[in-house]
């Protein structure tokens, strides 16, 4: 099966933070593709660079961070390909894409709504800015029309009493409702690609089930491609068709969800899966753990970033050379010398 042309193709993306104490390589050569209508899950423990990667995709990296390399090829609706990495972060082109074609549900939904305007007003404003999505004739969208679209969106994302809730301030909403309002905001411009950064981490499991069902329905109904970020392997298994596993700013492994969970190739993926308590395993026994701890960002190990903690080391090369992300079986790639000899040029 040859995949269609990807809607997004990220290659060797690098983001660094220049701090007084030194440089942090938060994203250190990340590559992955997103096919149209696909849900790509990105998983990895906190600090591995998931959020920074997503901000970079929209040129939203804050100071003292900066894009230090790589390309972000985004295929627009008309088929033209644009390298987002080369756009001016404050320019017109990225502003046309941001929020309209690619929407981000950020990790902190509290911070993304202003406390002094109602959530409804804020979404109405965004809608009017990108009216083209709703008025193909290019006309203006009236406030009343925009408001009724927002009420419908609130209903779609499962907010009860939507007519009242649009007039609420974000701090009046529960965590679950705020998260749904954030999703409604992201959907308001009918994005072609939705980036959801840990959209369910702060909410309870029964609300999470509802939000996940909503995102799946969206993907089915509108063919929206979704990049779904989480550190919850259960959520990844149930949401994604393609999975990217990150560690210390790099992609360790990438492949179809079934291969990642049933035939993982990278020692980090394997160790991560083993260390997780489940609803089925043996209880009250020691869980397999990953030795050691995450190194400090200023203290990146030489060679494979996982090598000091790896139990399956391929050999001395692991401590000196950085393995490339290479396809190891059809559709599945790993950065590991157990599977290939290709190292990054240093």
């Amino acid at each position: 099966m040859t995949p269609a042309a990807p809607i997004l193709s990220v290659r060797d993306l690098r983001v660094v933070f220049d701090l007084d104490e030194g440089q942090v390589r938060a994203v250190d050569g990340v590559s992955f593709d997103v096919q149209p209508g696909q849900i790509v899950g990105i998983v990895g423990e906190s600090g591995c660079g998931k959020s920074v990667t997503m901000k970079a995709l929209l040129q939203l990296v804050d100071e003292p961070g900066r894009l230090a390399g790589g390309s972000i090829a985004y295929r627009r609706a008309n088929g033209t390909i644009l390298d987002i990495a080369s756009l001016d972060p404050r320019g017109r082109e990225i502003r046309q894409i941001r929020g309209a074609e690619i929407a981000l549900i950020p990790q902190e939904p509290m911070a993304s709504f202003s406390p002094v305007h109602t959530v409804g007003d804020q979404i109405v404003e965004a809608l009017q800015l990108h009216a083209r999505q709703w008025r193909p004739d290019g006309g203006r969208l009236s406030r009343a029309d925009a408001r009724s679209i927002v009420v419908d969106l609130f209903r779609d994302v499962g907010i009860s009493m939507p007519e009242q809730r649009v007039d609420a301030y974000s701090w009046q909403l529960s965590g679950g409702l705020r998260q749904r309002a954030m999703i409604a905001m992201a959907l308001s411009c009918k994005p072609r690609l939705l980036i959801a950064d840990e959209p369910t981490t702060a909410i309870d499991v029964t609300t999470q089930a509802q939000v996940l069902a909503l995102l799946r329905e969206l993907q089915r109904k509108y063919g929206t491609a979704i990049i779904f970020i989480t550190h919850d392997l259960g959520v990844i298994a149930q949401m994604a068709s393609e999975v990217v596993v990150m560690y210390l700013g790099r992609v360790m492994e990438q492949g179809p969800v079934d291969s990642i969970f049933h035939a993982a190739r990278h020692p980090y993926t394997r160790a991560l899966l083993r260390s997780m308590p489940s609803l089925r395993g043996t209880t009250r026994v020691a869980l397999p753990t990953i030795a050691g701890s995450l190194p400090h960002p200023f203290n990146r190990p030489a060679g494979c970033p996982f090598n000091p903690r790896c139990e399956e080391r391929a050999g001395p090369r692991c401590a000196t050379h950085v393995p490339e992300l290479r396809e190891v079986v059809a559709g599945q790639a790993a950065s590991c010398f157990l599977h290939h000899d290709a190292a990054e040029a240093s």
């Binding site: 409702l177 499991v205 999470q208 089930a209 959520v235 149930q238 308590p277 609803l279």
Partner: protein
């Protein structure tokens, strides 16, 4: 009043270490400039359970269901509105913790300790880890500094840290290490009962596994009794001998871990289990069983608190509050129809 048999009491020869009976904690809601009380948040609303010596009892439920308030009542960080908490002391006396004064509580403080979700909140950032971990020792009368040093070093080793750590400050250690410090601090007074409120919830999977292993190992080594509070069902299942499920301030089900997960008897427990995403893409995603939102404990529904969301609710459920009652040995449930329901478990 609920009977002892209905508490899911394991048929142990020795009486329970802690017997909680009809515990209630209501917070007043006040309004206006005269702070007139206009209602109550029924944060803990008739909770009863036993904890046997040496067992780990899990307390699970969605946020706001009253887990932390229950824990804080047991620790007497707050005074319950009503109910009893009968604690069997080291010297064999039964003491009701609920009405005790500060002075009468003091000798029991060493026996009942707490581990928090964010140990940072309970550690003083301006004190070294030695002073932080050693503080409960000082409070409990260990005046000699070198004696405290030895004990802190021992405690740090016990939780898998090097003794040199005691000279560091809290901000200089990672999240996982910080949780180990929180555990060391809780263990410093040789407690018998440890209440752990979401001790691994803020940790990443790999760190979480390390801390869970540590807690299990310490429990066995030191014969600790745990009340283990968490919202993550897999974590609670992994560590607990028995599990209590809370919903809107009440325990709706309590059973040995394996029975609860294999054959839940309360519709809420079953729906909660089904909502957990299974870390296996070959397991089909279940339908969303629970719609709507958890009711507010300030204004709980009539009858069974779960009835507005329950697929099996009938007229009686809307009218009558079900009592917590026995349904199988050691298995209690708060549902009128538990006998006739065939509910799905996690397996």
């Amino acid at each position: 009043m609920t009977t002892g048999a209905a508490m899911g009491e394991a048929r142990a020869a020795s009486p329970a270490l802690l017997r909680v009976r009809n515990l209630r904690k209501f917070f007043p809601i006040s309004k206006g400039i005269f702070r007139r009380t206009v209602g109550h948040v029924r944060a803990v609303d008739d909770v009863s359970f036993d904890i046997q010596e040496g067992e780990a009892l899990g307390l699970v439920g969605e946020s706001g269901c009253g887990k932390t308030t229950t824990s804080r009542c047991i620790l007497r960080a707050m005074t319950p509105t009503a109910g009893e908490m009968l604690y069997r002391t080291r010297d064999g006396r039964d003491v009701d913790l609920a009405p005790l004064s500060r002075r009468d509580l003091r000798p029991l403080r060493a026996e009942i300790q707490m581990i928090f979700q964010d140990p940072f909140g309970s550690l003083n950032p301006r004190m070294t880890l030695f002073d932080n971990v050693g503080e409960p020792l000082l409070v409990n009368g260990m005046r000699n500094r070198s004696e405290r040093m030895d004990r802190v070093a021992e405690l740090l080793r016990l939780v898998g840290l090097r003794a040199e750590f005691m000279h560091r400050f809290p901000h200089a250690v990672s999240g996982g290490q910080r949780q180990r410090i929180g555990i060391a601090r809780a263990l410093s007074t040789n407690p018998r009962l440890v209440v752990a409120d979401e001790p691994v919830s803020a940790l990443d999977v790999s760190v979480q596994a390390q801390v869970l292993n540590l807690l299990l190992e310490l429990q066995q080594r030191l014969g600790l009794t745990f009340l283990f509070v968490a919202h993550d069902l897999s974590v609670v299942r992994h560590i607990s001998d028995r599990v209590a499920v809370m919903y809107v301030g009440q325990i709706v089900e309590l059973a040995p871990t394996s029975s609860l997960f294999a054959r839940p008897r309360h519709p809420y427990t079953s729906a909660l289990l089904k909502a957990v995403p299974v870390a296996d893409p070959r397991v089909p995603t279940g339908d969303v069983l629970l719609k709507g939102e958890v009711p507010s404990p300030a204004n709980p529904p009539s009858g069974c608190y779960f009835h507005p969301r329950c697929p099996f609710a009938d007229e009686r459920c809307r009218r009558e509050t079900p009592p917590l009652r026995d349904i199988a040995p050691g298995h209690v449930v708060r549902c009128h129809h538990a006998e006739r329901l065939e509910l799905a478990g996690a397996a």
